[in-house]
Protein backbone atom coordinates (compact mmCIF):
# COMPACT_ATOMS: atom_id res chain seq x y z
CA UNK A 1 0.00 0.00 0.00
CA UNK A 2 1.56 3.26 -1.05
CA UNK A 3 -1.08 5.96 -0.92
CA UNK A 4 -1.98 7.84 2.25
CA UNK A 5 -5.76 7.92 2.73
CA UNK A 6 -7.64 10.95 4.02
CA UNK A 7 -11.18 11.92 4.99
CA UNK A 8 -12.03 15.32 3.50
CA UNK A 9 -15.77 15.55 4.11
CA UNK A 10 -18.48 14.08 6.31
CA UNK A 11 -22.23 14.29 6.62
CA UNK A 12 -25.02 12.65 8.52
CA UNK A 13 -28.76 12.70 8.91
CA UNK A 14 -30.28 12.90 12.34
CA UNK A 15 -30.45 9.42 13.91
CA UNK A 16 -33.83 8.30 15.23
CA UNK A 17 -37.23 7.43 13.83
CA UNK A 18 -37.23 8.92 10.33
CA UNK A 19 -40.20 9.11 7.98
CA UNK A 20 -38.28 9.24 4.71
CA UNK A 21 -37.59 6.20 2.51
CA UNK A 22 -34.18 4.52 2.94
CA UNK A 23 -32.90 5.92 -0.37
CA UNK A 24 -33.89 9.48 0.55
CA UNK A 25 -32.04 9.12 3.86
CA UNK A 26 -28.96 7.82 2.04
CA UNK A 27 -29.02 10.64 -0.50
CA UNK A 28 -29.36 13.33 2.18
CA UNK A 29 -26.24 12.14 4.02
CA UNK A 30 -24.31 11.73 0.77
CA UNK A 31 -25.07 15.29 -0.30
CA UNK A 32 -24.00 16.57 3.13
CA UNK A 33 -20.67 14.78 2.78
CA UNK A 34 -20.09 16.02 -0.77
CA UNK A 35 -20.86 19.60 0.29
CA UNK A 36 -18.66 19.24 3.37
CA UNK A 37 -15.72 18.12 1.20
CA UNK A 38 -16.25 20.97 -1.25
CA UNK A 39 -15.94 18.56 -4.17
CA UNK A 40 -18.03 18.16 -7.29
CA UNK A 41 -20.04 14.94 -7.67
CA UNK A 42 -17.98 14.15 -10.77
CA UNK A 43 -14.92 13.77 -8.50
CA UNK A 44 -16.40 10.59 -7.00
CA UNK A 45 -15.00 7.53 -8.75
CA UNK A 46 -16.76 4.81 -6.71
CA UNK A 47 -19.42 4.40 -4.06
CA UNK A 48 -19.12 2.06 -1.07
CA UNK A 49 -22.43 1.46 0.69
CA UNK A 50 -23.15 -0.42 3.91
CA UNK A 51 -26.62 -1.63 4.77
CA UNK A 52 -28.20 -4.65 6.47
CA UNK A 53 -32.00 -4.58 6.38
CA UNK A 54 -32.77 -2.73 3.12
CA UNK A 55 -35.14 -5.54 2.20
CA UNK A 56 -37.45 -4.42 5.02
CA UNK A 57 -37.88 -1.08 3.20
CA UNK A 58 -38.26 -2.80 -0.19
CA UNK A 59 -34.76 -2.14 -1.48
CA UNK A 60 -31.78 -4.39 -2.03
CA UNK A 61 -28.98 -3.85 -4.59
CA UNK A 62 -28.59 -0.61 -2.70
CA UNK A 63 -25.35 0.77 -4.18
CA UNK A 64 -26.35 1.23 -7.84
CA UNK A 65 -29.73 2.63 -6.82
CA UNK A 66 -28.07 5.22 -4.59
CA UNK A 67 -25.41 6.11 -7.17
CA UNK A 68 -28.08 6.47 -9.89
CA UNK A 69 -30.22 8.71 -7.72
CA UNK A 70 -27.20 10.82 -6.84
CA UNK A 71 -26.88 11.45 -10.59
CA UNK A 72 -23.86 9.16 -10.92
CA UNK A 73 -25.37 6.17 -12.78
CA UNK A 74 -22.09 5.17 -14.42
CA UNK A 75 -20.01 5.29 -11.23
CA UNK A 76 -19.61 1.78 -9.78
CA UNK A 77 -21.04 1.06 -6.36
CA UNK A 78 -20.65 -1.86 -3.96
CA UNK A 79 -22.97 -2.82 -1.10
CA UNK A 80 -21.37 -4.44 1.93
CA UNK A 81 -23.14 -6.19 4.83
CA UNK A 82 -21.50 -7.28 8.07
CA UNK A 83 -24.35 -6.86 10.56
CA UNK A 84 -23.78 -3.98 12.99
CA UNK A 85 -20.16 -3.72 11.83
CA UNK A 86 -21.11 -3.07 8.21
CA UNK A 87 -20.06 0.59 8.27
CA UNK A 88 -16.50 0.15 9.48
CA UNK A 89 -15.92 -2.96 7.42
CA UNK A 90 -17.15 -1.11 4.33
CA UNK A 91 -14.90 1.84 5.30
CA UNK A 92 -11.95 -0.54 5.35
CA UNK A 93 -12.71 -1.65 1.76
CA UNK A 94 -13.02 1.96 0.61
CA UNK A 95 -9.74 2.75 2.42
CA UNK A 96 -7.98 -0.22 0.81
CA UNK A 97 -9.04 0.79 -2.69
CA UNK A 98 -7.71 4.33 -2.26
CA UNK A 99 -4.52 3.04 -0.65
CA UNK A 100 -3.99 0.59 -3.51
CA UNK A 101 -4.38 3.36 -6.06
CA UNK A 102 -7.54 2.12 -7.76
CA UNK A 103 -9.33 5.41 -7.03
CA UNK A 104 -8.43 8.97 -6.01
CA UNK A 105 -11.76 9.82 -4.36
CA UNK A 106 -14.75 7.73 -3.22
CA UNK A 107 -18.00 8.04 -1.30
CA UNK A 108 -18.38 5.77 1.78
CA UNK A 109 -22.01 5.76 2.90
CA UNK A 110 -23.83 3.75 5.57
CA UNK A 111 -27.61 3.69 5.82
CA UNK A 112 -30.33 1.87 7.74
CA UNK A 113 -34.11 2.05 8.06
CA UNK A 114 -35.63 -0.28 10.65
CA UNK A 115 -38.00 1.51 13.03
CA UNK A 116 -41.02 1.02 10.73
CA UNK A 117 -40.90 -2.72 11.44
CA UNK A 118 -41.77 -2.47 15.16
CA UNK A 119 -40.03 -3.98 18.17
CA UNK A 120 -40.84 -7.68 17.68
CA UNK A 121 -39.94 -7.75 14.00
CA UNK A 122 -36.80 -5.68 14.57
CA UNK A 123 -35.78 -8.07 17.36
CA UNK A 124 -36.39 -10.97 14.99
CA UNK A 125 -34.49 -9.41 12.07
CA UNK A 126 -31.51 -8.70 14.33
CA UNK A 127 -31.55 -12.32 15.55
CA UNK A 128 -30.77 -13.35 11.95
CA UNK A 129 -27.34 -11.72 12.45
CA UNK A 130 -26.48 -14.40 15.03
CA UNK A 131 -25.29 -17.95 14.28
CA UNK A 132 -28.96 -18.78 13.92
CA UNK A 133 -28.76 -22.57 14.32
CA UNK A 134 -27.35 -22.14 17.83
CA UNK A 135 -28.53 -18.69 18.90
CA UNK A 136 -31.54 -17.03 17.20
CA UNK A 137 -32.96 -20.48 16.47
CA UNK A 138 -32.86 -21.28 20.20
CA UNK A 139 -34.72 -18.09 21.06
CA UNK A 140 -31.80 -15.71 21.67
CA UNK A 141 -32.28 -12.04 20.85
CA UNK A 142 -29.35 -9.63 20.63
CA UNK A 143 -30.10 -8.11 24.02
CA UNK A 144 -30.15 -11.73 25.23
CA UNK A 145 -26.78 -12.58 23.71
CA UNK A 146 -25.13 -9.52 25.26
CA UNK A 147 -26.94 -10.20 28.52
CA UNK A 148 -25.29 -13.62 28.60
CA UNK A 149 -21.93 -11.93 28.01
CA UNK A 150 -22.72 -9.43 30.80
CA UNK A 151 -23.63 -12.20 33.24
CA UNK A 152 -20.33 -13.93 32.51
CA UNK A 153 -18.35 -10.67 32.91
CA UNK A 154 -20.07 -9.78 36.18
CA UNK A 155 -19.42 -13.24 37.59
CA UNK A 156 -15.80 -13.35 36.44
CA UNK A 157 -14.69 -9.85 37.47
CA UNK A 158 -16.97 -9.14 40.45
CA UNK A 159 -18.53 -6.20 38.60
CA UNK A 160 -22.17 -5.28 39.11
CA UNK A 161 -25.16 -3.84 37.28
CA UNK A 162 -24.43 -0.38 38.67
CA UNK A 163 -21.04 -0.43 36.91
CA UNK A 164 -22.80 -1.02 33.61
CA UNK A 165 -25.25 1.80 34.35
CA UNK A 166 -22.36 4.29 34.56
CA UNK A 167 -21.61 3.65 30.87
CA UNK A 168 -25.16 4.61 29.92
CA UNK A 169 -25.16 7.73 32.09
CA UNK A 170 -21.87 8.94 30.57
CA UNK A 171 -22.96 8.33 26.98
CA UNK A 172 -26.26 10.13 27.50
CA UNK A 173 -24.31 13.01 29.06
CA UNK A 174 -22.38 13.25 25.76
CA UNK A 175 -25.37 12.63 23.49
CA UNK A 176 -27.24 15.60 24.89
CA UNK A 177 -24.61 17.76 23.19
CA UNK A 178 -25.06 16.04 19.81
CA UNK A 179 -27.86 17.66 17.80
CA UNK A 180 -28.20 14.55 15.62
CA UNK A 181 -28.45 12.03 18.48
CA UNK A 182 -31.48 9.75 18.76
CA UNK A 183 -31.94 9.85 22.54
CA UNK A 184 -30.98 13.27 23.94
CA UNK A 185 -31.94 12.75 27.53
CA UNK A 186 -30.01 13.02 30.77
CA UNK A 187 -30.30 9.89 32.89
CA UNK A 188 -29.03 8.79 36.29
CA UNK A 189 -27.66 5.48 37.54
CA UNK A 190 -30.94 5.06 39.39
CA UNK A 191 -32.92 5.58 36.16
CA UNK A 192 -30.93 2.79 34.52
CA UNK A 193 -31.29 0.38 37.42
CA UNK A 194 -35.03 1.02 37.68
CA UNK A 195 -35.71 0.72 33.93
CA UNK A 196 -37.52 -2.44 32.81
CA UNK A 197 -35.49 -5.62 32.36
CA UNK A 198 -35.06 -6.41 28.65
CA UNK A 199 -32.87 -9.48 29.04
CA UNK A 200 -31.50 -10.15 32.49
CA UNK A 201 -29.18 -8.65 33.68
CA UNK A 202 -29.59 -5.90 31.02
CA UNK A 203 -32.27 -3.27 31.39
CA UNK A 204 -33.81 -0.85 28.92
CA UNK A 205 -31.20 1.86 29.51
CA UNK A 206 -28.38 -0.66 29.07
CA UNK A 207 -29.53 -1.09 25.47
CA UNK A 208 -29.08 1.16 22.45
CA UNK A 209 -32.23 2.08 20.52
CA UNK A 210 -33.30 0.76 17.13
CA UNK A 211 -32.52 3.76 14.88
CA UNK A 212 -32.91 4.94 11.31
CA UNK A 213 -30.22 7.13 9.79
CA UNK A 214 -27.39 7.57 7.34
CA UNK A 215 -23.80 8.80 7.57
CA UNK A 216 -21.33 9.43 4.78
CA UNK A 217 -17.69 10.41 4.35
CA UNK A 218 -15.52 11.29 1.37
CA UNK A 219 -12.23 9.40 1.22
CA UNK A 220 -9.35 10.38 -1.04
CA UNK A 221 -5.60 10.15 -1.46
CA UNK A 222 -3.27 12.73 0.05
CA UNK A 223 -2.68 14.66 -3.18
CA UNK A 224 -6.42 15.10 -3.65
CA UNK A 225 -6.85 16.15 0.00
CA UNK A 226 -4.08 18.78 -0.23
CA UNK A 227 -5.67 20.29 -3.32
CA UNK A 228 -8.91 20.81 -1.39
CA UNK A 229 -7.30 23.53 0.79
CA UNK A 230 -9.49 22.40 3.71
CA UNK A 231 -8.82 20.81 7.06
CA UNK A 232 -8.88 17.05 6.79
CA UNK A 233 -8.17 13.85 8.68
CA UNK A 234 -5.64 11.18 7.76
CA UNK A 235 -6.32 7.47 8.28
CA UNK A 236 -3.08 6.20 9.85
CA UNK A 237 -4.17 2.72 10.96
CA UNK A 238 -6.61 0.07 9.76
CA UNK A 239 -7.27 -3.41 11.10
CA UNK A 240 -9.77 -6.23 10.60
CA UNK A 241 -10.55 -9.14 12.88
CA UNK A 242 -12.83 -12.13 13.26
CA UNK A 243 -14.19 -14.21 16.13
CA UNK A 244 -16.21 -17.43 16.34
CA UNK A 245 -19.69 -16.35 15.18
CA UNK A 246 -21.48 -17.91 18.16
CA UNK A 247 -20.85 -16.92 21.77
CA UNK A 248 -20.48 -20.62 22.65
CA UNK A 249 -17.40 -20.81 20.41
CA UNK A 250 -15.38 -18.26 22.40
CA UNK A 251 -12.78 -19.62 24.81
CA UNK A 252 -13.40 -16.52 26.97
CA UNK A 253 -16.91 -15.08 26.76
CA UNK A 254 -15.78 -11.80 28.35
CA UNK A 255 -13.57 -10.70 25.47
CA UNK A 256 -14.00 -10.15 21.72
CA UNK A 257 -11.05 -11.55 19.75
CA UNK A 258 -11.94 -9.68 16.55
CA UNK A 259 -11.46 -6.35 18.32
CA UNK A 260 -8.15 -7.41 19.84
CA UNK A 261 -6.75 -8.55 16.50
CA UNK A 262 -8.06 -5.56 14.52
CA UNK A 263 -6.64 -3.18 17.14
CA UNK A 264 -3.21 -4.84 17.08
CA UNK A 265 -3.03 -4.35 13.31
CA UNK A 266 -4.23 -0.76 13.47
CA UNK A 267 -1.82 0.23 16.28
CA UNK A 268 1.09 -1.39 14.45
CA UNK A 269 0.26 0.36 11.17
CA UNK A 270 -0.11 3.70 12.94
CA UNK A 271 3.06 3.16 14.96
CA UNK A 272 1.31 4.09 18.21
CA UNK A 273 0.11 2.47 21.44
CA UNK A 274 -3.27 2.83 23.19
CA UNK A 275 -1.71 5.55 25.39
CA UNK A 276 -1.32 7.79 22.33
CA UNK A 277 -5.06 7.82 21.55
CA UNK A 278 -6.82 11.03 22.66
CA UNK A 279 -10.40 9.76 22.31
CA UNK A 280 -12.27 6.78 20.88
CA UNK A 281 -15.64 6.01 19.37
CA UNK A 282 -16.43 2.39 20.31
CA UNK A 283 -19.25 -0.07 19.74
CA UNK A 284 -21.53 0.30 22.78
CA UNK A 285 -24.63 -1.49 21.46
CA UNK A 286 -25.09 -2.50 25.11
CA UNK A 287 -23.32 -1.08 28.15
CA UNK A 288 -21.39 -4.32 28.66
CA UNK A 289 -20.01 -4.03 25.13
CA UNK A 290 -18.30 -0.70 25.92
CA UNK A 291 -16.69 -2.19 29.05
CA UNK A 292 -15.30 -5.10 27.04
CA UNK A 293 -14.28 -2.89 24.06
CA UNK A 294 -12.13 -0.53 26.11
CA UNK A 295 -10.30 -3.47 27.66
CA UNK A 296 -9.85 -5.26 24.33
CA UNK A 297 -8.53 -2.01 22.79
CA UNK A 298 -5.87 -1.84 25.49
CA UNK A 299 -7.10 1.30 27.27
CA UNK A 300 -7.63 -0.66 30.50
CA UNK A 301 -6.39 -3.96 31.92
CA UNK A 302 -8.80 -6.88 31.66
CA UNK A 303 -11.36 -6.74 34.43
CA UNK A 304 -10.66 -3.12 35.43
CA UNK A 305 -12.75 -1.08 32.98
CA UNK A 306 -15.94 -1.18 35.04
CA UNK A 307 -14.13 0.48 37.92
CA UNK A 308 -12.47 3.02 35.59
CA UNK A 309 -15.82 4.02 34.09
CA UNK A 310 -17.25 4.45 37.57
CA UNK A 311 -14.31 6.73 38.44
CA UNK A 312 -14.99 8.93 35.39
CA UNK A 313 -11.93 7.91 33.35
CA UNK A 314 -13.97 7.71 30.14
CA UNK A 315 -15.85 11.00 30.45
CA UNK A 316 -15.02 13.87 28.07
CA UNK A 317 -12.50 15.26 30.56
CA UNK A 318 -11.22 11.84 31.65
CA UNK A 319 -7.96 10.12 30.85
CA UNK A 320 -9.41 8.51 27.70
CA UNK A 321 -12.73 10.01 26.55
CA UNK A 322 -14.96 7.30 25.09
CA UNK A 323 -17.87 8.01 22.75
CA UNK A 324 -18.00 11.82 22.89
CA UNK A 325 -20.73 11.57 20.21
CA UNK A 326 -23.02 9.79 22.69
CA UNK A 327 -22.17 6.41 21.19
CA UNK A 328 -24.69 3.90 19.93
CA UNK A 329 -26.38 4.17 23.31
CA UNK A 330 -27.46 7.81 22.96
CA UNK A 331 -26.58 8.92 19.42
CA UNK A 332 -28.35 5.81 18.12
CA UNK A 333 -27.57 2.66 16.14
CA UNK A 334 -28.77 2.60 12.51
CA UNK A 335 -26.72 -0.53 12.06
CA UNK A 336 -25.56 -0.09 8.47
CA UNK A 337 -24.53 3.50 9.23
CA UNK A 338 -23.00 3.17 12.69
CA UNK A 339 -19.38 2.55 11.69
CA UNK A 340 -19.39 5.53 9.34
CA UNK A 341 -21.15 7.65 11.96
CA UNK A 342 -18.10 7.08 14.18
CA UNK A 343 -15.85 8.46 11.43
CA UNK A 344 -18.17 11.45 11.04
CA UNK A 345 -17.65 12.19 14.74
CA UNK A 346 -13.85 12.02 14.35
CA UNK A 347 -14.04 14.35 11.34
CA UNK A 348 -16.23 16.84 13.22
CA UNK A 349 -13.94 16.69 16.27
CA UNK A 350 -10.82 17.34 14.18
CA UNK A 351 -12.27 20.06 11.96
CA UNK A 352 -13.83 22.25 14.63
CA UNK A 353 -17.44 21.13 14.12
CA UNK A 354 -18.09 19.22 17.35
CA UNK A 355 -19.20 22.22 19.41
CA UNK A 356 -19.47 21.60 23.15
CA UNK A 357 -18.46 17.94 22.82
CA UNK A 358 -15.03 18.86 21.44
CA UNK A 359 -12.19 16.95 23.10
CA UNK A 360 -9.61 19.62 23.81
CA UNK A 361 -6.21 19.30 22.06
CA UNK A 362 -7.07 15.90 20.56
CA UNK A 363 -4.92 14.85 17.60
CA UNK A 364 -5.25 11.05 17.46
CA UNK A 365 -8.61 9.21 17.52
CA UNK A 366 -9.68 5.58 17.21
CA UNK A 367 -12.91 3.99 15.98
CA UNK A 368 -14.00 0.42 16.74
CA UNK A 369 -17.15 -1.20 15.38
CA UNK A 370 -18.20 -4.84 15.30
CA UNK A 371 -20.85 -7.07 13.75
CA UNK A 372 -23.22 -9.22 15.82
CA UNK A 373 -21.53 -10.21 19.10
CA UNK A 374 -18.14 -9.43 17.61
CA UNK A 375 -17.91 -12.07 14.88
CA UNK A 376 -16.54 -9.34 12.58
CA UNK A 377 -14.81 -6.10 13.54
CA UNK A 378 -12.74 -3.23 12.23
CA UNK A 379 -10.57 -0.69 14.03
CA UNK A 380 -9.30 2.53 12.46
CA UNK A 381 -6.95 5.21 13.74
CA UNK A 382 -7.05 8.82 12.56
CA UNK A 383 -4.72 11.81 12.78
CA UNK A 384 -5.74 15.43 12.63
CA UNK A 385 -4.12 17.35 9.74
CA UNK A 386 -3.98 21.13 10.09
Amino acid sequence: MTNKVCVIGAGSTRYGKLDENIIEIALAASKDAIDSAGIAPKDIQAGYISNVFGVSDKQVHMAPVIMSNLGLPYVPGLTIESACGSGSIMFREAYANIAAGFYDCVLALGVEKITHTGTIQSTTLFSYCSDFFYEGGNGASFPGLFASIARSYIATYKANEEDLAHVAVKNHENGILNPKAHVRKEITVDDVLKSPVVASPLKLYDCCPFSDGASAVILCNEAFAKKSNRSYVEVIGSGRGASPAAVQGREDITTIPSTINAAKQAYKMAGITPKDVNFAEVHDCFTIAEIIDIEDLGFFQKGTAAHAVREGATRRNGEIPINPSGGLKSKGHPIGATGIGQVVEVFEQFTGKAGERTIKDAEIALTQNFGATGASAAVHIFKKVE
Binding site: S141, G144, S148, R151, S152
Partner: protein, 135 residues
Protein backbone atom coordinates in the same frame (compact mmCIF):
# COMPACT_ATOMS: atom_id res chain seq x y z
CA UNK B 1 -40.82 -45.60 -14.74
CA UNK B 2 -41.08 -47.87 -11.74
CA UNK B 3 -38.06 -49.89 -12.87
CA UNK B 4 -35.79 -46.84 -12.88
CA UNK B 5 -33.16 -47.01 -10.18
CA UNK B 6 -32.60 -43.86 -8.17
CA UNK B 7 -28.83 -43.40 -8.15
CA UNK B 8 -29.02 -40.16 -6.18
CA UNK B 9 -27.03 -40.50 -3.00
CA UNK B 10 -28.93 -39.83 0.20
CA UNK B 11 -27.04 -36.94 1.81
CA UNK B 12 -27.41 -36.32 5.52
CA UNK B 13 -26.00 -32.94 6.46
CA UNK B 14 -23.86 -32.41 9.53
CA UNK B 15 -26.64 -30.37 11.07
CA UNK B 16 -29.12 -33.19 10.52
CA UNK B 17 -26.68 -35.58 12.20
CA UNK B 18 -26.29 -33.12 15.10
CA UNK B 19 -30.09 -33.03 15.47
CA UNK B 20 -30.31 -36.85 15.40
CA UNK B 21 -27.72 -37.04 18.20
CA UNK B 22 -29.53 -34.36 20.21
CA UNK B 23 -32.71 -36.40 19.96
CA UNK B 24 -30.80 -39.22 21.68
CA UNK B 25 -29.69 -36.81 24.42
CA UNK B 26 -26.17 -36.55 22.97
CA UNK B 27 -24.00 -33.82 21.48
CA UNK B 28 -22.33 -34.68 18.20
CA UNK B 29 -18.71 -33.55 18.18
CA UNK B 30 -15.74 -34.08 15.87
CA UNK B 31 -12.24 -34.99 16.99
CA UNK B 32 -9.44 -33.88 14.68
CA UNK B 33 -7.37 -36.89 13.57
CA UNK B 34 -4.32 -34.65 13.21
CA UNK B 35 -4.23 -32.57 16.40
CA UNK B 36 -6.92 -34.13 18.61
CA UNK B 37 -8.93 -30.92 18.96
CA UNK B 38 -12.61 -31.50 19.82
CA UNK B 39 -15.21 -29.24 18.21
CA UNK B 40 -18.93 -29.33 17.55
CA UNK B 41 -19.96 -31.83 14.89
CA UNK B 42 -21.37 -29.14 12.61
CA UNK B 43 -17.92 -27.66 11.83
CA UNK B 44 -16.30 -28.87 8.60
CA UNK B 45 -12.55 -28.40 9.17
CA UNK B 46 -10.48 -28.40 12.34
CA UNK B 47 -10.64 -24.96 13.97
CA UNK B 48 -7.06 -25.31 15.24
CA UNK B 49 -5.02 -26.99 12.46
CA UNK B 50 -7.60 -26.83 9.61
CA UNK B 51 -7.19 -30.54 8.85
CA UNK B 52 -10.14 -32.20 7.10
CA UNK B 53 -9.81 -35.62 8.73
CA UNK B 54 -12.37 -35.46 11.54
CA UNK B 55 -13.72 -38.37 13.54
CA UNK B 56 -17.34 -38.07 14.76
CA UNK B 57 -17.78 -38.55 18.52
CA UNK B 58 -21.09 -38.62 20.37
CA UNK B 59 -20.69 -36.95 23.76
CA UNK B 60 -23.01 -37.37 26.70
CA UNK B 61 -25.31 -34.30 26.57
CA UNK B 62 -24.73 -33.30 30.18
CA UNK B 63 -22.96 -30.23 31.48
CA UNK B 64 -22.99 -27.10 33.60
CA UNK B 65 -24.37 -23.66 32.74
CA UNK B 66 -21.63 -21.07 32.17
CA UNK B 67 -23.96 -18.19 31.30
CA UNK B 68 -27.54 -17.46 30.29
CA UNK B 69 -30.26 -14.85 29.98
CA UNK B 70 -34.01 -14.60 30.47
CA UNK B 71 -35.58 -12.20 27.97
CA UNK B 72 -38.64 -9.98 28.34
CA UNK B 73 -38.93 -9.57 24.57
CA UNK B 74 -38.46 -12.72 22.52
CA UNK B 75 -38.01 -13.06 18.74
CA UNK B 76 -40.94 -14.23 16.61
CA UNK B 77 -41.67 -17.91 17.16
CA UNK B 78 -40.75 -17.61 20.83
CA UNK B 79 -43.26 -14.95 21.85
CA UNK B 80 -45.68 -17.53 23.23
CA UNK B 81 -43.07 -18.55 25.81
CA UNK B 82 -41.41 -15.13 26.16
CA UNK B 83 -40.22 -14.45 29.69
CA UNK B 84 -40.48 -18.06 30.71
CA UNK B 85 -37.40 -19.58 29.14
CA UNK B 86 -33.69 -19.13 29.46
CA UNK B 87 -31.25 -19.10 26.55
CA UNK B 88 -28.23 -20.83 28.02
CA UNK B 89 -24.61 -21.67 27.22
CA UNK B 90 -23.37 -24.79 28.95
CA UNK B 91 -20.04 -26.60 29.06
CA UNK B 92 -20.25 -30.27 28.21
CA UNK B 93 -18.93 -32.50 30.98
CA UNK B 94 -15.30 -33.65 30.68
CA UNK B 95 -14.61 -31.37 27.69
CA UNK B 96 -13.89 -27.68 27.05
CA UNK B 97 -16.73 -27.62 24.52
CA UNK B 98 -19.62 -25.19 25.02
CA UNK B 99 -23.00 -25.30 23.33
CA UNK B 100 -26.15 -23.21 23.61
CA UNK B 101 -29.78 -24.17 23.92
CA UNK B 102 -33.18 -23.31 25.32
CA UNK B 103 -34.30 -24.17 28.85
CA UNK B 104 -38.07 -23.89 29.24
CA UNK B 105 -39.92 -23.04 32.42
CA UNK B 106 -37.42 -20.60 33.91
CA UNK B 107 -38.82 -17.25 35.01
CA UNK B 108 -36.22 -15.75 37.32
CA UNK B 109 -32.42 -15.71 37.62
CA UNK B 110 -32.98 -16.85 41.21
CA UNK B 111 -34.05 -20.21 39.75
CA UNK B 112 -30.86 -20.70 37.79
CA UNK B 113 -27.49 -20.22 39.50
CA UNK B 114 -24.43 -20.40 37.24
CA UNK B 115 -23.03 -23.90 37.42
CA UNK B 116 -26.47 -25.54 37.42
CA UNK B 117 -26.39 -29.01 35.89
CA UNK B 118 -28.32 -29.59 32.67
CA UNK B 119 -28.81 -32.30 30.06
CA UNK B 120 -29.83 -32.29 26.41
CA UNK B 121 -33.52 -33.12 26.06
CA UNK B 122 -33.83 -33.28 22.27
CA UNK B 123 -33.99 -30.96 19.29
CA UNK B 124 -37.30 -29.21 18.86
CA UNK B 125 -38.31 -28.16 15.34
CA UNK B 126 -39.74 -24.96 16.83
CA UNK B 127 -37.28 -24.09 19.60
CA UNK B 128 -33.99 -25.74 18.60
CA UNK B 129 -31.71 -27.55 21.08
CA UNK B 130 -33.83 -28.19 24.16
CA UNK B 131 -32.14 -28.56 27.52
CA UNK B 132 -33.48 -29.76 30.87
CA UNK B 133 -32.25 -28.77 34.32
CA UNK B 134 -31.04 -31.61 36.52
CA UNK B 135 -31.85 -31.33 40.18
Amino acid sequence: MSSQVNHQQQIVSLREKFIMSANKGKILANRCSNCGHIMLGTIYYCEKCHDSQLEPVELEGTGKIVTYTIQAVAPEGFSDIGGSYAWIVFKIDNTVLKVSGILLGVKSPADLPLGSKVKVDGFDTKYGLRVQKLS
